[in-house]
């Protein structure tokens, strides 16, 4: 008995050890493989010395959705070979990680340990970025940008100079911000069939909107004899906020342009002021509480997140929803067998159209202070930004690599995975940025052109023509007022000292007060005491710090 037990135990251990060593072996053979590919790459290099070669070291993100074919790897693939051939750039992989979070963490550790940073890397966390600049390990690129950036890139950045605010310290630029698309936020989606049935026009002002909502709620637009429809879908779970917190189904269009809740905007005195404190917001909250009382809003709005709140519109129970143009693909779908369409937002409480925009920049390039190859970088950047400029002559106009993310069939690009030999590969993940680098409002232009009914001509227009028609229609609508109405959060620096300490407390107080006002649990006058309390509990200090930053970056 004893002996048998012993034998079993040893077998168990043997199995465990084998499994462990199997894991160890497989990782070992991986490194060997890598070493081999590196060697191969080196032997290849010997052949082509016509061009001056440069090496750019990178940290790479290789996620589980990052597929390879033809025996390629992140070090050696169709994109790296292209970069090598075209610009003589060797991408050297310092390390790879599996997720975006791990990427940031890895960089944080390298910074803390004062170890070698990759030559070029991207970050999207202002607090961490601030630490990188403070450490003195990243390069001031002000001169390099002037010297090497291509004309169209210079022109772009000159057109939106405030984008530099995210990387400016003492008038110098310690990184290269990349632009967001600014092409989706936001339009009003409305039930055209309900408007027609009730004999109403699309709302142009808040008063119109009230009339429409009243009819949508009390006029039985779905004709089932029950008062079971709502006027406007809203998600208030993350407070009264705009796209920065509530990415769709928010209420910010109601407040107009003077102030957007939670956004910092420049006041008449040239100083930044906090949106949630402004009188127009109080007036907006009063409106929302009236609407809640009259049943225009969903009684559960306070408990619903974005997708939950959008459901009522998708299910045909709600008449109006405010959100980005891409709602046409999600959460909207083919099963919505009713007539709805995108329209311009009505003018807000201050008589002007306005809504909170997505930030101009979310991701920034940073460069190690020892990096010398800025010229090569900017050449490469200009090439991979071709699609972002929607340049028809870009070699990437159809896609990143033929046979990978598209194939040419009868002279036309096809993106269908079944037709691509070996399957569809997301080559943009092989680029230094790992994604398309957007430029403001370019996507909107292309989409709007399609939405106006023009036949697609450029490769981009062809590509986008596969998108739902309502998306393009929404883009055409948005284009008519985007410039006039988009309100940007002008504080784009790292959280200030008092924000770190008190920010959460203030935000919680704000969300709680605003929702209680909307639900009628507190009178609108609670807004005034909130403003006083906000200022005295650290808000004044935050305002000072924010303006200190604002003055510093605008020097």
């Amino acid at each position: 008995m004893k002996k048998r037990f012993k034998k079993q135990a040893w077998i168990a251990i043997a199995i465990a050890v084998t499994m462990l060593s199997a894991v160890a072996c497989s990782s070992k053979s991986n490194t060997e493989q890598n070493a081999q590919t590196e060697q191969n790459a080196q032997t290849e290099n010997v052949g082509s010395e016509s061009q001056q070669e440069v090496t750019i070291s990178l940290g790479r993100l290789v996620g589980s959705d990052n597929k390879f074919k033809n025996g390629e790897s992140i070090e050696d693939n169709v994109h790296t070979r292209w970069a090598k051939e075209k610009f003589g750039i060797n991408f050297q992989t310092d390390w790879t990680v599996g997720t975006g979070d791990a990427f940031t963490t890895k960089l944080r550790i390298l910074l803390n340990a004062n170890e070698k940073l990759p030559d070029v890397f991207t970050l999207n966390d202002p607090t961490l970025e601030n630490q990188f600049v403070d450490s003195g390990n990243v390069m001031d690129i002000t001169e390099a940008f002037d010297k090497y950036a291509s004309p169209r890139i210079k022109e772009l950045y000159a057109k939106y100079p405030e984008i530099w605010n995210t990387v400016s310290y003492d008038g110098k630029h310690y990184g290269l911000p990349t632009f967001n698309a600014i092409s989706s936020f936001s339009v009003l989606w409305i039930r055209q069939d309900w408007l027609d049935k009730l004999g109403l026009q699309a709302p142009k002002t808040i008063d119109d909107l009230e009339t429409v909502m009243d009819a949508f709620v009390n006029g039985d637009p779905d004709g089932n004899g029950e008062k079971d429809t709502i006027g406007l879908s809203l998600s208030l779970k993350k407070g009264v906020s705009a796209v920065k917190d509530t990415f769709m189904v928010s209420s910010d269009f109601l407040f107009g342009q003077t102030a957007v809740p939670t956004y910092w905007t420049e006041g008449i005195d040239g100083k930044l002021q906090y949106g949630s404190l402004q009188p127009t917001v109080k007036a907006g909250l009063v409106k929302l509480s009236e609407w809640m009382k009259k049943g225009y809003l969903d009684k559960d709005a306070g408990a619903m997140d974005e997708s939950k709140a959008a459901e009522s519109f998708v299910q045909g129970k709600s008449g109006i929803v405010f959100g980005p143009t891409w709602m046409a693909t999600w959460p909207f779908n083919q099963d919505m067998k009713f007539d709805y369409k995108p329209i311009s937002i009505p003018t807000g409480i201050d008589g002007k159209m306005g809504f909170g925009s997505e930030p101009q920049s979310s991701v920034r390039f940073y460069f190690s202070k020892d990096f010398k190859q800025m010229e090569a970088f900017f050449n490469y950047l200009d090439a991979i930004m071709g699609p972002g400029f929607y340049d028809p002559s870009s070699e990437f106009a159809n896609g990143w690599a033929e046979g990978y993310d598209y194939v040419m069939v009868d002279g036309k690009p096809v993106y269908d995975a079944d037709q691509i030999p070996g399957g569809w590969i997301d080559v943009k993940k092989y680029t230094i940025y790992g994604n398309d680098i957007q430029t403001p409002k370019k996507e909107l232009e292309v989409m709007a052109k399609l939405g106006q009914g023009n036949t697609p001509e450029t490769p981009y227009e062809m590509y986008f023509s596969a998108r739902p028609k309502k998306w393009a229609e929404a883009a055409a609508v948005l284009q008519t007022y985007l410039d006039e109405a988009a309100v940007f959060d002008q504080f784009t620096g790292p959280p200030t000292a008092t924000m770190v300490e008190k920010g959460e407390l203030l935000r919680k107080m704000e969300n709680e007060t605003f929702l209680k006002i909307i639900y009628g649990r507190e009178s609108p006058d609670a807004f005034d005491s909130f403003v006083d309390k906000w200022k005295s509990s650290g808000g004044d200090a935050i305002t000072d710090e924010v303006n200190e930053w604002y003055q510093a970056v605008n020097k």
């Binding site: 251990i13 465990a16 944080r108 630490q131 559960d300 306070g302 408990a303 959460e504 929702l515 209680k516």
Partner: protein
């Protein structure tokens, strides 16, 4: 001589077992004990760039700040209240349910019910959050039934008191089936001859339950109860985070959601660590006390 031989035999017999447990011990040391070094952050002004080796020491600043932070007391109280209610309900309900199920004689039915009630345990709160928002909504099924009884619709997730009740009940609904299994397992271990003897003495089913079944369960209840006490400051992050909203911050915000917002969203790592440390300390004290008490009064050693 014989002693030595015996101990050598012991070693050779137990060595494989110790080797077997070694990987787990190593994992425990690496993943559970080593990170505790990070607790020093609670006494520093932690700057990620400096790391905890170089960040300046500030003593009890963050602990002090925690108790003077305007919301802290409210948040700690919420956590304590919600967690205690959950512990109480999650102890009583499974016991009662196990006792009832134990009386069921039809084996197929018993197995079926047992499986059915423990299935919700495997659902994530992210999914349940969405489902509950629907079920408990203004036009949801619960309010529909209530309106049939002539009750005004209740905003379960937007009214403080109702929110706490909802949180506790939904947690019990999700978890009681799983705990029931433990008690049912303990019940199978009860000596059948005790029941036969009791029957001979003329005890009915109720008497048998109170005098045989329940006493047999006491050790298990003590173990489960003691371990649960360690959770007295765990209100259930997943659940609250998916259900709460600004309307119920005052009654529903718990330590974990608070730490999440302060620590991760606003980036004050030291403060968040201090709060976490406080939580762990309270849990530790409670477990030790419960352990002593159950040894003293239940005469039962848990570990």
């Amino acid at each position: 001589m014989i002693e030595w031989k015996k101990s050598r035999m012991m070693v050779s017999r137990e060595l494989p077992l110790h080797l077997l447990i070694l990987p787990s011990v190593i994992c425990l040391l690496v993943f559970n004990y080593t990170p505790m070094v990070g607790l020093v952050m609670a006494f520093q002004d932690f700057k990620p760039r400096l790391g905890f080796l170089h960040s300046p020491w500030v003593g009890f600043k963050h602990i002090h700040y925690m108790f003077t932070y305007p919301d802290s007391i409210q948040v700690i109280w919420n956590t304590f209240l919600i967690a205690s209610l959950k512990i109480a309900a999650n102890t009583v309900v499974p016991i009662v349910f196990a006792l009832l199920l134990n009386e069921v004689r039809m084996l197929v039915f018993k197995r079926f019910v047992q499986t059915l009630v423990y299935l919700p345990h495997f659902l994530s709160w992210v999914i349940l959050g969405g489902i509950l928002t629907d079920i408990l909504g203004n036009k949801g099924i619960v309010n529909h039934l209530l309106s049939g009884l002539g009750v005004e619709p209740i905003f379960f997730l937007g009214d403080g008191t109702w929110f706490r009740i909802t949180v506790v009940i939904s947690d019990v609904w999700k978890e009681f089936g799983f705990s029931t299994i433990i008690y049912l397992a303990a019940l199978t271990g009860v000596n059948m001859s005790l029941y036969e003897a009791a029957e001979m003495d003329g005890a009915g089913r109720l008497k048998q339950t109170f005098h045989i079944t329940l006493p047999a369960l006491v050790p298990v209840i003590l173990v489960v109860g003691t371990l649960a006490l360690g959770n007295i400051l765990n209100g259930g992050f997943d659940q609250i985070f998916n259900l709460y909203n600004p309307l119920v911050y005052r009654e529903g915000d718990i330590i974990d959601t608070f730490v999440y917002r302060v620590g991760l969203m606003s980036g004050s790592f030291s403060f968040a660590t201090a709060v976490g440390l406080f939580k762990s300390a309270v849990s530790f004290i409670l477990i030790v006390v419960a352990y002593r008490l159950s040894y003293r009064f239940g005469n039962y050693r848990i570990f």
